[in-house]
Amino acid sequence: MSIQIRNLYKSFNGVIVYKDFNIVFPEGTISCILGPSGCGKTTLLNIISNSANPDRGGFEGLENKVISYIFQDPRLLPWKTVEENIDFVLSRDIPTDERKEIVSRFIRLVELDGFTKFYPTQLSGGMRQRVSIARAFAYPSDVILMDEPLKGLDIKLKLNLIKAFAKIWQTDKRTVIFVTHDVDEALLIGNEIFVLSQAPAIIKSQQKIEIPLANRSLSSNFLKDVKKSLISALGE
């Protein structure tokens, strides 16, 4: 079931961030939210993950949904190894053997096989973010929220992480809501791209990309055209 948000109202210290806002995130696809900083992208994720309360609004398709979150910073526990960090979020109702199996499967998927016993400080920034991606997928969630997880990383690392993410998502197509202000990231990851305006936010443009993640190239004519229209929507 898709996630629908209807007539959302939210204000912060008198500033109206959302006013009668509507959006639908289809199930099993990656929706990207593009928008200028301060337009309330993170607020939207926090409302979906229930860490912030809306002033008013109707939600559908969120009941009993389990949520994973990939944050901008990896948020790993510095005193736990790679495998312990992933294991940390797994419910203790799952037997130890099964948890071990899950953890090692997702470590393999993000290609950190040799690093299971490493502590976060012994890893590079990109590797830490890969642990955070593995953790989000290892957790049995219905929805994965991503809040600019690639911000501040260099382009090579970004492409690397997008590849890792695409690979793992292909095997396990969960509903993903990806927030970013980088148009290229959205083009490489999104199935559905929404451009939001300054607060109070409205959807200024919505684009659909049906090319599989692995076959996308920023230099293809189709993505160049989409990029043009996204940038013009952002610039308005």
């Binding site: 860490s51 910073d73 948020r75 203790r92 502590y119 953790r135």
Partner: protein, 251 residues
């Protein structure tokens, strides 16, 4: 870098030599063992203490009191500190109690404890009342400094509160627990010895110091003081050593 470390060591060593010379000069000036015995004589007295018949019992009794007091303070300080750090209401309730304990003069507590308790328990009681607030306050400060991003992450992933405490809070506040434990130990030994001087348990460093003072054995008073300093130093070393093992992830 290496040169500067050696150099600083040399300066620290010079400081110790300076204290010894000052001590020797004062001893020569007063020229009386009843006021200030010379350092070399005190050193011999200290060494001869090790051969004294009840030396191990005396040391053992004091160290045991210190450890009992410390362990009780540590367990109570950490658990009550975590409760107060995570519950603002409980913190508001606890604060006046901690302030009262901390600002009550130690001697007042000792006088009351002498009425309430037996000679052996008085020093332990005093030690707990001086050590517990240190550890507890440090833990509360530690909880405040826990990265809210990590607790937020744990909550999004619906990790149970019990595991959040065990796997997020406790490791995060470990540096605070250790620095609290270190300062608590430092004042704890002093409190125990004061308690022993006044309550006169059968064995204890404070007990023998009081006896030595009565007979004007100034060198024995100083010699036992040196033993007390050595014990305190040893435990400080143990705490620092465990710090490196418990906070391994910091490097």
């Amino acid at each position: 870098m290496k040169i500067s470390i050696t150099k600083r060591r040399a300066i620290s060593l010079a400081s110790i030599v300076f204290m010894l010379i000052a001590w020797k000069l004062l001893a020569m000036y007063f020229d009386s063992d009843f006021i200030i015995p010379p350092p070399e004589k005190t050193l011999f007295t200290t060494i001869s203490l090790f051969g004294e018949s009840h030396f191990l019992q005396i040391i053992g009794a004091t160290v045991l009191r210190g450890l009992i007091g410390f362990i009780i303070s540590l367990i109570a300080g950490v658990s009550i500190g975590i409760l107060a750090g995570t519950s603002p209401n409980f913190n508001a309730f606890l604060k006046p109690i901690l302030v009262t304990i901390r600002s009550t003069p130690v001697i007042a507590i000792i006088l009351l404890a002498l009425i309430w308790l037996n000679a052996t328990s008085v020093p332990i009681f005093i030690a707990i009342l001086t050590m517990f607030p240190f550890i507890c306050t440090n833990v509360i400060d530690g909880i405040k400094s826990v990265d809210s991003h990590l607790t937020e992450m744990a909550k999004v992933y619906q990790v149970e509160q019990k595991r959040i405490v065990k796997d997020v809070f406790v490791p995060a506040i470990m540096p605070f627990i250790i620095s609290g434990a270190s300062s608590a130990m430092g004042i704890g030994w002093r409190a125990i010895i004061i308690g022993e001087v006044l309550s006169q348990p059968r064995y204890g460093i404070g007990t023998v110091m009081q006896t030595a003072q009565t007979f004007l054995n100034v060198d024995a008073v100083i010699a036992w003081t040196i033993v007390a300093v050595l014990i305190s130093y040893l435990f400080e070393k143990i705490i620092r050593w465990s710090e490196n093992r418990l906070i391994f992830w910091r490097n």
